[in-house]
């Protein structure tokens, strides 16, 4: 993987997965997955449960370890090399299905912890940064509260703000709205749409097809660990090529 000229680097994908496979014991959860994501691209990954979509994005920031294939983020390869892992993780923010906020810290402390510890920011600067992102996700008044005092939608927005405080270039979303009431899904999706419009590279695993249609540059469908189809939303929803995709879309778009 050569990063010679700056012209070439501008076109090179920011995330690149080649032939990635992963096994849990005997069971193969990822089968030879290839994926390239350009800078500023928004990718939505969908598929039935057990298809490996969460595992796929978790491999990108090493929360899961792949056994075969190669993963590159910004030209750095994801291996056992701790320095690489750390350098890659600093550029990737992750939002989880069950928020994973730190319950013993206030919202503000949740947000300032990362910058203060890993980027050696001073407390005042970190708090300014935190309030900036809290305003972006529209909940600045909740800064002094504890996560458990907030609603699910607010907690997820805090989680998004927490990841943004690390100022990453890439954001990964693992089913961010699956644990939320329908009323709160909208507020989180709106936040994500705003984020997308600001040019962030995003990979979102979700069942929210409306979001995919509005925001995605590319929709990827996975089933049984394989990447079945990958196409821009008009093509994906309007004219899916694979039978398996058609079946899935029928099921999910029925209601």
């Amino acid at each position: 993987m050569s990063q010679s000229t700056s012209m070439q680097a501008a076109d090179a994908p920011i995330i690149s997965l080649h032939n990635v496979s992963k096994w849990y014991g005997q069971f193969q959860v990822l089968c030879a997955v290839d994926l390239d994501v350009r800078k500023g691209e928004r990718v939505v990954v969908c598929g039935p449960s057990g298809s490996g979509k969460s595992t796929l994005i978790r491999c990108i920031n090493r929360l899961e370890v792949h056994q075969e294939g190669r993963i590159f983020v910004k030209g750095l390869e994801m291996t056992d090399n701790v320095k690489n892992i750390d350098a890659i993780r600093r550029n990737i923010g992750m939002v989880f299905q069950n928020f994973n906020l730190f319950p013993h810290l206030t919202v503000l402390e949740n947000l300032t912890l990362g910058p203060m510890l890993t980027r050696q920011m001073k407390k005042a600067d970190a708090e300014d940064l935190a309030m900036h992102f809290l305003r972006k996700v529209r909940i600045p008044e909740q800064a002094r509260k504890y996560p458990l005092q907030l609603s699910g939608g607010q907690q997820q927005r805090v989680a998004i703000a927490r990841s943004l405080c690390m100022e990453p270039e890439i954001m990964l979303f693992d089913e961010p709205t699956s644990a939320l009431d329908p009323e709160m899904i909208k507020e989180v999706l709106d936040t994500m749409i705003e984020l997308a419009q600001s040019g962030m590279t995003m990979i979102v695993v979700t069942h929210e097809m409306g979001f995919a249609r509005t925001v995605a540059d590319n929709v990827v469908f996975m089933a049984d660990g394989r990447m079945v189809e990958s196409a821009p939303p008009e093509e994906f929803f309007g004219n899916p090529r694979e039978e398996r995709t058609r079946t899935f879309l029928d099921q999910i778009l029925k209601h």
């Binding site: 750390d86 993780r89 600093r90 992750m94 989880f96 730190f102 013993h104 890993t118």
Partner: protein, 368 residues
């Protein structure tokens, strides 16, 4: 327009959440609700009254409070609290030289003051506590050892009583808790060496009686030291008790660590926090809050394990009392003496317990 009703409405009783039951109603419902319960109440009341009357009669009405003549006490039918007044100095201070007891009183005042100050959350600031404890440690050392500032030198072999209990307890907890945390983390570490060492340590020392560990610490450990190097016996036994305490606490803390969901580790990893940053800022604060009641348990037990110091010939408050009550004149009144010691232990144990409950309340309300 209200309709005239020929019948009384069905539900006239309106439930008022703020209403309190009258005393009569409470008694009726909880103590006298049925024949059997009434009978039980009467019997229990009779037993309790008999007991309290005995305590009042023996402990207060017929008790002898101040006398230096044991004959007066023998003649009386009640308790002989005078034995405590007579013997409280050797009970509380052990073999420490009589004229230097004021140093021990001062030491206990400094110690208790420092501890109470350190336990208040608003003082939980390392910049405040570390110098405070350094100053306290130095002043306690000077007071107990002497040898400087014109104070008479008192070796550790003459220390005893309540100050000794306090020092042993503090040493156990201050040294044992960090070791316990490290052992608990080691047992769950991904490194096989750390895990192996922690498991062997914990299982070996948990499975062996405390007194055995202390014998090893006092008698066997010096054999491994190079010739001429001497470690103070009191220090050796403190470390022995502390390590035993640490092994039990390690398992308690491990229970708390197991309760932390994997998502917390993943969130910390996604923020690029290192192992130690994750452990000290995210995992341990949550784990310790979870297992606080069990931790308190072992801390209170540690206070009572201090009695084991007898095996190196030092007399803490309990063994000093036993020794003092060998006096043939006062020997008959050992009950009163032990009640006094029990009261001292109960006071400190209950204080610890109350504090732990307060901390649990603070945790629940988010103040800690």
């Amino acid at each position: 327009m209200k309709a005239a009703s020929s019948q009384t409405p069905l539900a006239t009783a309106v439930y008022d959440p703020l209403a309190r039951m009258s005393a009569g109603d409470w008694l009726k419902r909880n103590l006298f609700s049925s024949v059997w319960q009434t009978l039980l109440t009467v019997i229990t009341a009779a037993v309790l009254l008999r007991f309290f009357w005995f305590v009042l009669d023996w402990g207060v009405i017929n008790a002898v409070w101040f006398t230096s003549d044991p004959e007066v006490c023998r003649a009386a039918t009640g308790a002989c609290w005078a034995v405590i007044v007579e013997k409280h100095r050797p009970m509380l201070f052990g073999l420490y030289p009589y004229d230097e007891h004021w140093r021990l009183v001062l030491m206990m005042a400094i110690y208790l003051g420092t501890v109470v100050f350190s336990l208040m959350p608003r003082n939980w600031n390392l910049r405040l506590l570390v110098p405070l404890w350094c100053v306290a440690a130095v002043s306690i050392g000077v007071l107990m050892f002497g040898g400087v500032l014109g104070l008479r030198y008192v070796p550790t072999s003459e220390w005893g009583g309540l100050p000794l209990t306090m020092l042993l307890f503090t040493g156990t907890v201050l040294f044992g808790m960090p070791v316990a945390v490290l052992l608990a983390l080691g047992r769950r570490a991904p490194l096989p060496v750390a895990r192996g060492v922690s498991v062997v340590f914990i299982e070996a020392l948990r499975g062996v009686p405390l007194i055995t560990i202390l014998f090893v610490a006092v008698n066997v450990f010096p054999l491994f030291l190079p010739a001429g190097v001497q470690v103070d016996k009191l220090l050796r036994i403190t470390i022995g008790i502390a390590i035993f305490f640490a092994c039990y606490q390690a398992e308690v803390i491990r229970g708390g660590l197991q309760a932390i969901p994997r998502g917390q580790y993943e969130a910390a990893a996604s923020l690029s926090l290192t192992y130690w940053q994750t452990t000290t800022r995210i995992i341990l604060p949550q784990a310790l809050r979870i297992c606080l009641p069990a931790i308190t348990n072992h801390i209170i037990a540690a206070m009572k394990n201090t009695s084991f110091v007898i095996i190196i010939g030092l007399f803490d408050i309990l063994t000093a009392t036993t020794a003092v009550m060998q006096d043939p004149l006062w020997r008959k009144f050992y009950v009163e003496a032990y009640l006094f010691v029990a009261a001292v232990y109960l006071f400190f144990g209950y204080a610890l317990s109350l504090y732990a409950r307060k901390v649990e309340k603070w945790i629940a309300s988010g103040r800690v």
